[in-house]
């Protein structure tokens, strides 16, 4: 089974009971098991999964959820095949998913507002009052204003600043590009931050020339979409 699903992302982890654990390494070696086998110290895993017999099987899906518990021997391969066939979950946090989709479509970046809603509102109001900043904001960024729960979940994205963090710029895939704390955005800092971290400006002449070259190389035609950010 490990070979059958090896290229499709199946990871097998064996857990040996506490009892007899001292002989597990020798057994694994003798059997040539092609996956790691851990020893259940103090029956903690057995207890956590409510294991009632050996062997027992538990399947965890790609998003980390236990999907099948206490599986019988004869059903394991079929159940694995069902989970393997499921599409991979999106790797981006749900709070960023829509902005990411739009940002990729329109070659924008994502601007994440941090902190309490009142402070976010103040910052947005300042942006709206600065014509240049407002233009850069609407043309170049998809805005995300996560609630407190989502902010906590997004923390691992941007771990360097905590409560002082005001804005993060992410690329369209959700990777952090830059961040700013509140004091850095005072005065001209806000407009400068947006202008500095907006996506790179592309040269349409170059894009057009590259598209024609590619079309000649691949015997294709060019479909040009003339549009604007709005």
């Amino acid at each position: 089974m490990s070979e059958r699903f090896a290229d499709q992302g199946l990871v097998i982890i064996g857990v040996h009971s506490t009892r007899g654990g001292e002989n597990a390494a020798e057994f694994v070696q003798q059997q040539g098991l092609p996956y790691p086998v851990a020893i259940d110290i103090d029956n903690k895993t057995t207890s956590a999964y409510h294991i009632d017999g050996f062997p027992d099987y538990y399947l965890i899906d790609r998003s980390g959820k236990v999907r099948v518990a206490d599986l019988a021997n004869g059903d394991v391969e079929r159940a694995v095949a069902v989970l393997i066939a499921e599409p991979a979950p999106p790797s981006i946090h749900p709070a960023l998913a829509e902005a990411s989709r739009k940002a990729q479509d329109k070659r924008k970046r994502i601007l994440v507002f941090w902190g309490a809603a009142e402070r976010q509102n103040e910052l947005l109001a300042r942006m709206n009052q600065l014509p240049q900043a407002n233009r850069v904001l609407s043309n170049e960024f998809e805005v995300v204003r996560p609630d407190a729960v989502a902010q906590a979940e997004l923390l691992p994205l941007c771990p360097s600043i905590l409560e002082e963090r005001a804005l993060s710029v992410l690329d369209a895939q959700g990777n952090q590009v830059a961040e700013a704390i509140w004091s850095e955005l005072e005065g001209p800092g806000l407009e400068a931050f947006l202008k500095t971290h907006k996506p790179q400006t592309l040269d349409a002449e170059q894009l057009w020339a590259q598209a024609l070259k590619q079309a000649q190389r691949e015997n294709k035609r060019v479909l040009v979409h003339l549009g604007a950010p709005w």
């Binding site: 329109k106 070659r107 043309n139 170049e140 400006t201 592309l202 040269d203 349409a204 002449e205 894009l207 057009w208 598209a211 024609l212 590619q214 079309a215 000649q216 691949e218 015997n219 294709k220 035609r221 060019v222 479909l223 040009v224 979409h225 003339l226 549009g227 604007a228 950010p229």
Partner: protein, 104 residues
């Protein structure tokens, strides 16, 4: 679509020389954006999103209405080199589904 076309998005407001390229491709034609043109590999226009009507050519913009979707599909039919009928049918279904999201 990638089998037959190199897809190129030009942003007339954000891209450097965006306006120049737009003028080169579109000339004096008007009708708003988005505007779509399909060219051969030398840049010669084959067909554009200006749908023939009783009152003259009219840019379909984002193809939402049945007439607009029909013209967009016609643009592909006229210029495709490899795309099977199945591929066109898939695009037709996707356009119809998109139109539904706009309507609601």
């Amino acid at each position: 679509m990638a089998k037959d076309y190199v897809l190129l998005k030009i942003d007339v407001e954000r891209d450097l020389h965006g306006e120049e390229v737009a003028t080169k491709l579109r000339g004096e034609r008007t009708g708003g954006i988005p505007w779509i043109v399909i060219t051969d590999a030398n840049g010669t226009e084959l067909v554009a999103s200006d749908r023939p009507t009783d009152k003259g050519p009219s840019n379909i913009g984002c193809p939402v209405s049945p007439e607009e979707r029909g013209w967009f599909l016609s643009m592909l039919q006229q210029t495709q080199q490899r795309m099977a009928a199945e591929g066109l049918a898939t695009i037709e279904r996707e356009l119809a589904a998109f139109a539904e999201t706009i309507r609601h």
